[in-house]
Subunit: 241 residues, 2 copies
């Protein structure tokens, strides 16, 4: 772990790595669907459908077909799309209720050991999100859940969505450090591959139920990442925090 001596800041993927988006969205979708007489829709399936539109929406911004647009806006557009997919009319639901459900992304709960692990890691490292979520989303989530970030970084600060190189490189730049002094912590091999190709250090943490009990992806480290840990407590242990 010699390469880690240079690392001064840990930045974290958030959706799936720090918080359990599937259960959090399902928890808030369930009463919404019941209220609108659609209690037969599986709220976890609803969460999966909403999340499935995440990458294509960002891809519009990555390709330049659309200017950088913060994730709260993309989430809201995607919500209206999936409501229509389920035969529901967003216009009949009303602005306030749509906005409240869209804010479910601000109310996701961390994985059980995440806050304790981050609190340990913060003693030695600068810790910040490097998420595609926007600043308000990350900040409201952290304030509610007690996530002790030192700063809120990520796509909105970099004005680029992962896995675009600019998302990683501009994050190092605003921190005033070299890419090798920055480590990405993520539960996704693809995110880590993009970070490594920019010169960042890499730490993989397993989150085997992010997509539910029958998850088939990212169950193990697919490349020799600098660190591989079970969870954030194990990561803190391995980094001597």
């Amino acid at each position: 772990m010699a390469s880690f001596d240079a690392v001064r800041a840990l930045v974290f993927d958030v959706f799936g790595t720090v918080v359990d988006w599937r259960e959090g969205i399902a928890r808030d979708a369930a009463p919404f669907l019941a209220r609108h007489g659609r209690g037969e829709i599986d709220p976890r399936g609803f969460a999966d459908a909403w999340r499935k539109r995440y990458q294509p929406a960002m891809e519009e911004c990555r390709t330049g077909r659309r200017g950088f647009t913060r994730l709260d806006v993309l989430h809201r557009e995607n919500l209206e799309l999936i409501l229509r997919d389920h035969g529901m009319d967003p216009a009949a639901i009303g602005e306030a209720e749509l906005e409240a459900l869209n804010r479910a992304w601000h109310r996701l709960d961390p994985w059980p050991e995440a806050v304790a692990g981050l609190t340990r890691l913060k003693r030695r490292f600068i810790i910040a999100p490097l998420s595609n979520g926007n600043i308000a989303l990350m900040l409201n989530m952290a304030k509610r859940a007690g996530i002790p970030w030192d700063a809120i970084l990520g796509a909105e600060v970099a004005q680029a969505y992962k896995p675009q190189p600019e998302a990683y490189l501009r994050t190092a730049e605003v921190l005033g450090i070299r890419p090798a002094e920055l480590c990405l912590v993520a539960a996704h091999n693809g995110d880590l591959r993009a970070a490594r190709s920019c010169g960042l250090a890499t730490a993989f943490v397993t989150r085997p139920t992010e997509h539910g009990p029958s998850q088939a992806t990212d169950l193990r480290a697919e490349d020799p990442w600098d660190i591989v840990a079970r969870d954030f407590q194990d990561l803190a242990e391995k980094l001597g925090c």
Copy 2:
């Protein structure tokens, strides 16, 4: 204080309001000057000279004559200018030492009650810097001094230097709130005037020795700000935190 019921986030001017830049810069300049045989230069005067070039440098960016340039870069250029003003040759001093002195801005100490006051205010409000200092500067300062920010906002996130309206308005926008839900806390009447003209709530805190014992400016609230407080503990008291 009815207007304060809507406020959800407090953003703070930092240089002078949260930290004592004059004593902090003087503390690091003194051994530097002595090392270079210039121990006769008053380090507080050196700090004042460095700070005096702050507004003109940002003005180049505000007017658009120069693209937005982060404060670490402006501080470094200004350091070389004032060294020359004092008959010292930056090239003879060397990169590492210049960079180390420039980082004195990352090592400023908070006013004595500031961290305790912010810790109280954080219970009820989102708290973040709205400083012209860049992200790395604010983050390194906070990490060293234990300032418990929820996020690092300000000029670099807004890509505009106070008192440009964009600095205040884009900060509300990234927080996902209306200007009236945001309050600027500052020891400077001019900063508060600009914030109020953008629709922000305003809180004045007195820092009567920011410029030393014979300070002549900003000794009192010059307009009827929404709150006027002696310091951050008094502010927390007045806001019921």
